[in-house]
């Protein structure tokens, strides 16, 4: 099974048409696709998960104090360079509110839980597990939702894929995201002072490569599932994104017009 998946991944990454065709024609296309999404999503979240395990044993008070220190550092920078923060009264008010809010969070964290013998770290540990195990589901939801839209447009463009074939084929987009294992590690190394920025940039670059590679595989997979040209597959792949973008612009314009009208009416 594992060697089969590795061979599939290799063929997909090299855009081997025979691999795509065989995957689409297979009876297990969807099962394999979902397995790939599950495994790769868990791998992508592995390093943040491990960091989360370590972090769950830190005292929450220390973490809040650290967050407060970082926040205050950022606000100091804002106050130095942002003209909006030059009014001493605004500064004083803001500092008072922020320090009270952090003090409030500290006090809330120190409250005993409803079942008082339960340690804080156990809750955080379980949450880290929960978030990690949810990663494949989040990926699954986003991928399936988008794939349905792509399938709709592919049908309009004359595509002949069945639902199972389409879902099974497009799930292959996930293969290059195995690189996210590396980005997760680099993101952790990004916390190292001084050298961190380099790791952060490298992580972003690798993430970008994985993303673009994934889109290219998505297009190829859509073409293979629908048995039409790469041009039509590209169109079917990007049209839903364009539609969402257009919708977001229309909603944003409507909101702005609404605010302007409301402001005009209140005068």
């Amino acid at each position: 099974m594992i060697s089969e998946l590795v061979a599939l991944a290799r063929g997909v990454l090299t855009f081997d048409s025979a691999t795509f065709a065989a995957h689409v024609a297979s009876r297990d296309t969807l099962k394999r696709g979902l397995l790939l999404i599950g495994v790769i999503a868990l791998l992508a979240g592995l390093f943040p998960f491990l960091a989360g395990i370590v972090g769950s044993f830190r005292s929450p008070e220390a973490e809040i104090a650290e967050a407060q220190r970082q926040f205050e550092q950022q606000m100091q920078q804002q106050m130095q360079f942002n003209p909006g923060w030059q009014d001493p009264q605004v500064r004083r008010m803001f500092q008072e509110i922020s320090s009270q809010v952090f003090a409030m969070i500290q006090d809330i964290v120190q409250l005993r839980p409803n079942v008082s013998f339960l340690p804080h770290w156990l809750d955080r540990l379980l949450q880290v597990f929960g978030v990690w195990l949810s990663t494949p589901l989040v990926w699954l939801g986003a991928w399936a939702w988008y794939a349905l839209w792509v399938m709709l447009f592919a049908k309009l463009l004359g595509g002949g894929a069945t639902l199972e074939r389409m879902l099974g084929a497009t799930s292959l987009f996930v293969v290059p995201h195995v690189l996210n294992l590396l980005t997760g590690l680099l993101a952790l190394m990004g916390r190292i002072p001084m050298a961190g920025a380099c790791f952060g940039a490298l992580s972003a670059l690798i993430g970008l490569i994985a993303g673009v590679w994934g889109v290219a595989i998505y297009v190829k997979a859509t073409a293979a599932a629908n048995e039409f040209s790469i041009g039509k597959a590209t169109l079917a792949t990007i049209l839903p994104a364009l539609l969402f973008l257009l919708l977001a612009i229309v909603v944003a314009i409507a909101v702005v017009i609404g605010i302007v009208v409301a402001a005009g009416g209140s005068r």
Partner: protein, 239 residues
């Protein structure tokens, strides 16, 4: 004669959109019994794990009354609060909104009442399945479908399979994303298999009940907002 698949095989096949699972359910003589068993078993599993997850969230959370008290203590130390507390009308309005906010928070916060989910989850699955199944049947018939009510209900029961993804919610902090989308996909397969419809017609029949539900929901929301607005306005006017 082919042996009838067991519950696990049925859920497995439904989740992975196996055509034979859907047609097998459609043609089974005991389809409604199987559908009911499937929904109750999945509902109980999801209900039990969900209740455990919510109970764990409650167990780890501090008592919400203490949180409310702590927040108020800190708000009272802020300079703006002195201005508010000096004005009885402003203080009354502040207290009213503050308490309303916490009442909503308490209603949404996890509590031992989450154990009721063991009963309410399978019950809600049954109700949703029955209403959706009937509406989908009507829609499919309008679109030219040939299936019976029993066949539609039996096939749409298979769309409960993705709910098993919610088992992850036994852990606090977990989210069962994708369940809705995958349920929609399974319902599409169910309507198509039960009625022998083409893709487009099956899609319309699958979505029509949802569109109807959204419209009804939006209507209720509008009515609710109007009533709540009127109630708040009358509260404001009373002061």
């Amino acid at each position: 004669m082919e042996a009838r698949p067991n519950l696990v095989q049925t859920v497995w096949g439904a989740f992975f959109l196996r055509e034979d699972t859907y047609t097998g359910m459609r043609d089974d003589t005991q389809r409604i019994k199987r559908a009911l068993t499937l929904i109750i078993v999945v509902g109980l599993l999801v209900g039990v794990t969900g209740a455990i997850g919510r109970l764990a969230e409650w167990a780890f959370a501090p008592p919400i009354d203490r949180v409310q008290e702590t927040v108020l203590n800190h708000l009272m130390q802020m300079s703006w609060y002195a201005g508010v507390s000096g004005n009885p009308r402003a203080l009354a309005t502040f207290n009213q909104w503050y308490n309303l906010g916490w009442q909503i928070a308490k209603a949404l916060a996890p509590s031992p009442w989450a154990l009721l989910g063991v009963i309410t989850t399978p019950l809600s699955f049954l109700i949703v399945w029955f209403i959706y199944g009937l509406l989908a049947h009507l829609a499919a018939r309008i679109m030219g479908g040939q299936g019976s009510v029993g066949q539609t209900l039996a096939c749409t029961a298979l769309a409960v399979a993705p709910q098993l993804l919610s088992l992850v919610m036994v852990l606090p902090g977990a989210v069962a994303a994708g369940v809705g989308t995958w349920t929609l996909v399974c319902n599409f397969m169910a309507v198509r298999s039960a009625h022998g419809l083409t893709g487009w017609r099956a899609l319309v029949a699958t979505l029509l009940p949802l569109v109807l539900a959204i419209l009804v929901g939006a209507g209720f929301a509008c009515a609710g907002i109007t009533v709540a607005g009127a109630a708040l306005a009358s509260l404001g006017g009373a002061q």
